[in-house]
């Protein structure tokens, strides 16, 4: 379930001991938000990250994405099982993260049973989860399941913001009212809301924006981008640290532009090909022994100070 009312004071204890989190390997991206320009640390940098993390810790949160519960095709006959493995990894962390964000495609076909299964597994992490929807979460006839289950207290199709650990978090929806020939779409109403939400905020406040489809143009030929994201990024200009977290493309990709770091997380269900390396996007079958090396989650740590945000993407295995 979503809770959009984090308070720093509740998180005091959790914002410690990054060391354990950063050395923890096996499940995803580790994010460290440290007030400066965010950057990603690959696995090879994990040791360095651990060294950095020996300093006073900040807040850690996790990103999981693209669970596609209900998916059972050859690329992964048991997407629920790999989600469960990811949650198992989270539960094995020596220090619990403060909360989790889920960047959409919780279900594969928006069936009530798929959402039920997802909730049953994800709730085992015993963390607050802040969701944004993917296009696979709006496939029920009445388009009501997502809103009923995850959209309480949100605006429009499910956008909202909250503050945690000194960071302003904004969850956006770019998977509705898609136009023929186009990419992801935020729409005027949401953009106006975003402008208002950011207006008057101190530019020194670190901002984390999360949405399903990448908010930068990864590969338009495959629809991997958001039509009107430039406008959203305009409103974020001037903020010292902006981190944009997305899913949808089922692989880790990162771009840094000025003070904005864009980052996509792995899926817990199935991989997709790198842009242009296959005739189309879609579930990519890899050798069964390799599957867990291309699935994973992300962990993010925020620490006030002058150090850059560190991101570690860690696969389920390998």
């Amino acid at each position: 379930m979503s809770h959009h009312d984090h308070h720093d004071e509740e998180r005091g204890v959790s914002r410690r001991k990054v060391l354990e989190c950063m050395t923890w390997a096996g499940t995803g991206v580790l994010w460290t938000i440290s007030g400066g320009v965010p950057r990603s640390l690959g696995l090879v940098d994990a040791a360095k990250a651990a060294e950095k993390a020996a300093e006073p810790a900040g807040m850690t949160f996790l990103q999981i994405s693209d669970s596609h519960v209900g998916f059972d095709k050859p690329a992964n006959p048991n997407a629920l099982g790999t989600l469960e493995e990811a949650i198992g990894k989270i539960n094995a962390m020596p220090k619990k993260p403060s909360f989790m964000i889920h960047t959409g495609d919780i279900s594969h076909l928006s069936k009530a049973s798929e959402f039920d299964d997802a909730d049953r597994i994800i709730s085992q992490a015993k963390l607050d989860v802040h969701y944004v929807p993917g296009e696979h979460d709006f496939l029920d006839e009445e388009l009501k399941f997502y809103k009923e289950r995850y959209g309480k207290g949100t605006m429009g199709a499910g956008w909202y913001s909250f503050d945690a650990g000194g960071v302003h978090f904004v969850g956006l929806v770019n998977v509705v009212n898609l136009k023929a020939g186009g990419l992801g779409n935020l729409g005027t109403e949401q953009l106006e809301w975003l402008e208002g939400d950011l207006k008057g905020r101190s530019k020194s406040t670190p901002v984390v924006v999360f949405a399903h489809i990448p908010l930068w143009t990864v590969y338009p030929e495959w629809g991997w981008g958001t039509e009107d994201s430039a406008k959203a990024l305009d409103y974020l200009k001037g903020f010292g640290s902006v981190t944009v977290l997305n899913g949808h493309i089922h692989q880790v990709m990162q771009k840094v532009e000025g003070n904005v770091t864009f980052h996509t997380a792995r899926s817990t269900a199935f991989p997709q090909p790198a842009p242009g390396t296959a005739p189309s996007p879609g579930p990519m079958k890899v050798d069964a022994s390799k599957l867990r090396s291309v699935l994973g989650i992300a962990s993010v740590n925020f620490k006030m100070g002058d150090q850059p945000l560190a991101i570690i993407d860690t696969p389920l295995q390998g």
Partner: protein, 110 residues
């Protein structure tokens, strides 16, 4: 076959044809297939006649859904699911996948 039998068969066929043919409808309404493979409609552009039916079948391991604004809309098609629409009026019907809007196609009905 006797002449009477042939006449009888001819009459039956005429009746059958009259039942099948609504005024203005073409002589042979066909069903034409558009396949969805690798996030692409094949053929991307299709010419059909008024009264023809087009059936889309999804061969991808990911669901697709077809929308032609104000004209027709499929349910979500999972792998191997199909959707059919019979075109009763001439015109150009642009359509796209509501999940993956970069997928577009066109049915030209004459």
């Amino acid at each position: 076959m006797t002449l009477t039998a042939l006449r009888s068969l001819g009459a039956s066929l005429a009746v059958a044809a009259a039942l099948l043919l609504q005024p203005g409808a073409p002589a042979h309404a066909e069903t034409i297939t558009v396949s969805i493979d690798n996030f692409t409609f094949t053929p991307t552009e299709l010419k059909v006649k008024v009264g023809d039916t087009v059936t889309w079948t999804n061969h991808d391991d990911i669901p697709h859904a077809i929308v032609s604004a104000g004209k027709f809309r499929s349910k979500t098609m999972d792998t191997d699911d199909s959707f059919s629409f019979t075109f009763a009026a001439a015109g150009d019907y642009k359509y796209f996948c509501s999940l993956h809007p970069h997928m577009t196609g066109m049915i030209k009905v004459e």
